[in-house]
Symmetry: D2
Subunit: 350 residues, 4 copies
Amino acid sequence: MSGNTFGVIFRVTTWGESHGPAVGAVVDGCPPGLELSSDDIQGQLNRRRPGTGQGSSPRQEEDRVEILSGVYQGRTIGTPIGLLIRNREVKSSDYESLEDIFRPGHGDWTYFKKYGIWDHRGGGRASGRETAARVAAGAVARKVIARAGIEVFAYTLELGGTAVEDFSRAEIPKNRFLCPDSRAAEKMGERIKAAMVEGDSLGGVVEVRVTGCPPGLGEPVFDKMDADLAKALMSLGTVKGIEIGAGLEAARMKGSMSNDPIAPGGFMANRAGGILAGITNGEEIVIRAACKPIPSIEKEQDTIDLHGKPRRVSVGGRHDVCVIPRIIPVCEAMVCMVMADHLLRQKSIS
Amino acid sequence: MSGNTFGVIFRVTTWGESHGPAVGAVVDGCPPGLELSSDDIQGQLNRRRPGTGQGSSPRQEEDRVEILSGVYQGRTIGTPIGLLIRNREVKSSDYESLEDIFRPGHGDWTYFKKYGIWDHRGGGRASGRETAARVAAGAVARKVIARAGIEVFAYTLELGGTAVEDFSRAEIPKNRFLCPDSRAAEKMGERIKAAMVEGDSLGGVVEVRVTGCPPGLGEPVFDKMDADLAKALMSLGTVKGIEIGAGLEAARMKGSMSNDPIAPGGFMANRAGGILAGITNGEEIVIRAACKPIPSIEKEQDTIDLHGKPRRVSVGGRHDVCVIPRIIPVCEAMVCMVMADHLLRQKSIS
Amino acid sequence: MSGNTFGVIFRVTTWGESHGPAVGAVVDGCPPGLELSSDDIQGQLNRRRPGTGQGSSPRQEEDRVEILSGVYQGRTIGTPIGLLIRNREVKSSDYESLEDIFRPGHGDWTYFKKYGIWDHRGGGRASGRETAARVAAGAVARKVIARAGIEVFAYTLELGGTAVEDFSRAEIPKNRFLCPDSRAAEKMGERIKAAMVEGDSLGGVVEVRVTGCPPGLGEPVFDKMDADLAKALMSLGTVKGIEIGAGLEAARMKGSMSNDPIAPGGFMANRAGGILAGITNGEEIVIRAACKPIPSIEKEQDTIDLHGKPRRVSVGGRHDVCVIPRIIPVCEAMVCMVMADHLLRQKSIS
Amino acid sequence: MSGNTFGVIFRVTTWGESHGPAVGAVVDGCPPGLELSSDDIQGQLNRRRPGTGQGSSPRQEEDRVEILSGVYQGRTIGTPIGLLIRNREVKSSDYESLEDIFRPGHGDWTYFKKYGIWDHRGGGRASGRETAARVAAGAVARKVIARAGIEVFAYTLELGGTAVEDFSRAEIPKNRFLCPDSRAAEKMGERIKAAMVEGDSLGGVVEVRVTGCPPGLGEPVFDKMDADLAKALMSLGTVKGIEIGAGLEAARMKGSMSNDPIAPGGFMANRAGGILAGITNGEEIVIRAACKPIPSIEKEQDTIDLHGKPRRVSVGGRHDVCVIPRIIPVCEAMVCMVMADHLLRQKSIS
C-alpha cells in the first residue's frame, strides 16, 4: 500500500490499523514557530469520539494523542510532527463470528483481492478508526490556516432523508447532530431511533464551509483547489458524492444564472462556491459530501465467505447507525489539510 | 504555477496557453513495447474538435498532434512521450473588446489575483483549449489499459435539464450529443437551439463507465480509486459535482439498500459504482460529472474591469453553448489516466 | 521542514528529535506477505548502538523498536509500517554549558538561520540519533530486496588516514571497525586512541557493495540508480564525498581503460561500479562515502554565541571519536531503501 | 521510464531522444513576472554547443530553442514553460556499423536489459544530447535565483590528469577549456591532441561554485542541499564522483581541522563547502564532479552483439574526446535547478 501521504508542502502521512496497537500520523512541512499543544489536537479528537447517545457507537476509546516530535516549548520547530494514538479497547472477539465472512459494503473483499491478506479484525486500515489520525493531523493544519485568518467548519445538512430548512450557525454546536436547524435535528434523532429498531443504518450530507480564505489559492491545472478538495473528501470511505457551490444544480442552470456577477465590492452571488477555474475567489468556499449509510447493520444480508460459499450475515458489535455527526470533524480535518497545503504552496510564487 | 502534473507512475504533464503557439503534454512512465501511432492520438483529438453544428464552437482548429519522442518504429520505448499540438487559428482580435474586463464565471479574476498577471487573450491556461493536451495524453493511457482489457467510455446523461430515460450503448455514437437515448438527444438539440436564441448557455451531466477493470486497483487511504477519479474530473474547470455509483442518492438510502449483496458469482447490485473502500471490486465503475453552463454568453452581465469600475459585458466570439459533448472525450481521457496509473501502481505489490 | 520522506514507491518518512520523547519511521509501499518481525529490525538497530569501546559514545540507549502497524501474524499486510523507538536516556544537562553557543561543524547555526528556532539540546533532528529511524526502516527494505536475491553490505575502507590493504569479507564482522583487513583494523584502533588523547576526532571512508542485483534497475534520466544512491548517502550529515566504481580515479583514466569490456559471460571489469547510464548492469554495485570527522571535540575551538559574541568552546559529553563504524549500518540502510524502491519501480514496466 | 522530472516546487521534466525529432523540457513552478526571453536560454545552449576545435565533436547542431508557453510579453506568467529544441542534423547512418553491437561504457546494454528495446541510433535518451534540454531549463532556473542574488559558475579543475594550479576567475572564459589557469589550459590542450592521435578519450573534474546564497536553504533530513546537489550532478551519465567542500580530503582530516571556526563576521574557513547539516551557511557552495572519459573511442574494444557473440568495436563518428568543457554549462544548469527549487521551497516556511 502506498498512498498514505496527502499534500505537497504540508504533507500528512497516516498509519495504523483498527485493531493493531495504535494509529498515528506524521505531519511534515509545518512552518516553525506555531503554537501547538496536545490540547489543540485532543480537542478535535474528542469531537470524533464515539458518544454514548443514539446513532453513535458505544465503543469507549479515550483516544489520547501524544506528540512525539516537532514541538518544543509549546511551539513547532519546523521538523516533522509525530502523533501517536494508542488503540485502547480492542475486542477482536466481537469479530470472531465474522472470521471468514466478507461483510457487504465493507472493504473486506477488495482488500483481500488487492493484498491477498485476510484480516477479519474490524476492517484494519479501511476502518473509520483510521480517521482519528486524520483528525489529529488536521488539528495542526487548522492552526496553520488560522494564522492566515482562514476558518473551516462543517455541519449536518441532511440525515436519513431529513434536510435542513433553516440555517443558524449558533445552533450547530447545540445539538448532537451538529445541525444548524434545531427542528431538523429533532427529526434526525427520530430517524436514527427508527433505524436502530430496524437494525438498519442511515446516510446523510455534510456541508463544509471555509471562511476568510484569500483569493488566489489553488494550482492550475490538475491541482485545482476544488480538485484537491474533492479528492480529500472522496478519500473518506463513506463519501459517494461531492458538490462545490451550486454543485449538481449547476448542471440544470443557464449560464446567465450560473455565472456570479462581479461588482466593485466583490461577487454578487456565490454559485461558484468560492472557487473559479480552480482558484479561490475570496468568497466563502462551500463544499458538500454525500455519505452512504454505515455498512455494518444487524439486518441479515447475503454475502459469501472466504471459500466462496453463500452466507447470511448480521453484523452486530459496537457500530454507529450513521457516520454523521462523527464524520464532521474528519471532513473539517481534510479540508484544513488542503487549505494549509495550498496556503503554503502559494508562498512559493509570492 | 505548479500542479501541471497528474499521476504517480503514469505521469502526465501538460503545458500551453490558449493563444500561445502550442499546447502539449509529456507522458512519463508509459511501459515500453506498446503499439502507439499518432493516429491513435489523433482519433481522440478529433472527438473533442469543435464541430460546426449547434452547440459547438465554429472555431476550426485542425489539432494535429506530433509525437516528438518516446516512440520508435511504432512502439513505445519506455522514455517520456512528448506530444505537441500547434495552435493554428488564433484570433486574439476576438478578445480585444474584452481587453480590460473580467468575464463572469471565468478564471480571469482569480488568475489575476493569483499571479498578478493580466492576459486577456481568451483564458490562457484556464481555457478549454488546455484539455486538448489531456485528450492526447489520455489516448496513450487508453492504450495502456486496453492491454489489460480495461475500457473507458462516456456519454451525455443530461443536458439543459433533459435527462436520459433509456440506455442504449449502440445509440451513443449515432447522435451528436453522444447520448444513449435518441429521443432525449432530440430534445437536447432543441434546448441548445433555444439557448442560442437567448444568447445563453447550458450545463449537463456526463457519465463515465469503466469496464473490464480487475478487482484490487486503488491505494488506501488517500489515493483511493474514487478519490483519484474525483480529483481527475473535478480538475476540469466546468465540473461542479461528482458522483460514484449511487452518488448523492446513497445519502438517502438505508444500509440494507445501499450495501451491494455478494453472491458466489459476484456482487448482486452495483450501488457502490465498482469501488469499495477505495479499491475496485471488479464491477463496472460508474462515475458522473455535473458540468456547469459555459460562462461565455452573449447575454449582458454585470462585471468590473481592471480598474475596479463596474461594466456590462456580452461575450461574443466563437463559443460553444454547452461544454457537452466536447467534454466527453476529455472526461474519458482523465479516467483513462487514473486507470493507467493505478494499474501500474498495483504492479509494485504483485 | 519538509523533505523527511525518501523514495517513490517504497517510501520512508522519518520523524523525531535527539532529545524528544522518541524517533520513528513510517514505511509505506512495502509489499504484503513479507515475513517481518521486530527482531529483524532490532538486529540492525543493535549494530548501530553506541558501544562501550574506544571510538564509540558511552551513551547507553537500548533502542527497542516497536512495530505499531502494517504487520499481522508475522507478515506485512501492505499497509504502512509504523516504527517507534523511544529515546531512553536523555541527559540534556550535558548540553547546558552549550546553552547559547553554536558548535562548529554542527547544524546549530544553519538550523537557527533556517527556522529561527534555537534548541540547544544536542542537535535535534541534525543529530546522529535520527539515523536510528533510518536503520529501522532500512531493515524492512533489506527484507524486500532479500526476496529478490539482493544483498547489501558495507565496511570500513579507511579510518583516520589508515586504508585497507587486503580484503577479506570473512574478516569484516570479526573486528570492531567492520574492517576487511585485520592489520589495518589494528592501526585504526591506535589512531582512535591517539585522537582521544588529543581530544580530537577522525573521519574515514565507508564502502558499500550490493550483490545479486539484476540488470535493469534505475530510472533515466534524473532518477538514475547512481544519482539516487548518491543522494541517499549524501543525505547523511557526515558524508562529504561519494564515489561510484572507479570514482574520482575515473577522471584520470583514458576511455580505453575506463570502459569495461563486455564478453559473452558478462563484463570483464567493473570500473563502472555496477551501473551504466544510471541503470544496473548486473555486476556488483560499489559505492564509497567519505565521512568527515565528528564535529564534537574537546579541543577548544573558536565560535560565537546566540548574541554574536566570540566564544571558545570545548564539546565534552558522550561523543564518538569517529562516525565509523556506527555509520556503517546506516549507509547499508540507505542503500537498501534505494534498492527496494527501484526494484518495485521496475515492476511497473515489466 | 519514469524519473524524468526533477525538483519539488521548481519542477523540470525533460523528454526527447538523441535521434528523434526533438528534445525539450517543461518547467513548472516558475514564479510569474520574471523577465525571460529565448535569448536568455539560447545563450546557455550556445555554451554547450559542439565546437569545431579539438576535444569537441564536429557535429553542427544549431540548437535553436523555441519557448512554446508560459511567457507573455517577455515575462513569465506562472504557467508551465514549454521548451522545444529540434534535432537538426541526424545522421543515423553513422551508427549503422554499430547496428547490433553494445558499445562498452555506454547505456546500450543496460537500456536493452531494462526496456527490452533495441535502438542503436546513438544512445537515445542516454545520449549527451538529452542534456540540451537540461541546459534550456537551467537557464530559467538561473533567472529565478539571479533575482535573489545567487550566481552559479563552473570551470575545469582537472582534465586528462592535468590539474589547475592557479585560480583566476577572469581567466575562465578566455580559454576553450573554461579553465581558471591558462597554463594548465595549454597542457590540457596537449593532452587532448595526444588522446585524439591515440583514438582514445579523457576524463576530468568540474568544480561548481554558488555565490550569494543566503543561509537556511536545504531541507533536512533527506532533501539536504548537498544530497540534492549530489543527485543533480550524479544524474549526468558521465559523473562517477562528487565532493562537497573538502570532499574526500575531509575523511583524512581531524575534527579540529575539518570544523570551520565561527567568528562574529562569519565562518573563518570553508571546508564545509557552504553547507552544514544539509543547510546552506551563507558561505560559497563548492562542489566537484569527477567525469569519466567519453566511452566512444576509436580504439578497438571487446564487446558482444545482440546475439551474445563476442565482437571487436571501434566507435568512429563525431565524438568529443572529453566531456569537458561541454559538460560545464550542464553542471551549472543542474545546480541552478537545485538552487531555484530550494529557494522556492524555503518560502513556504518564511
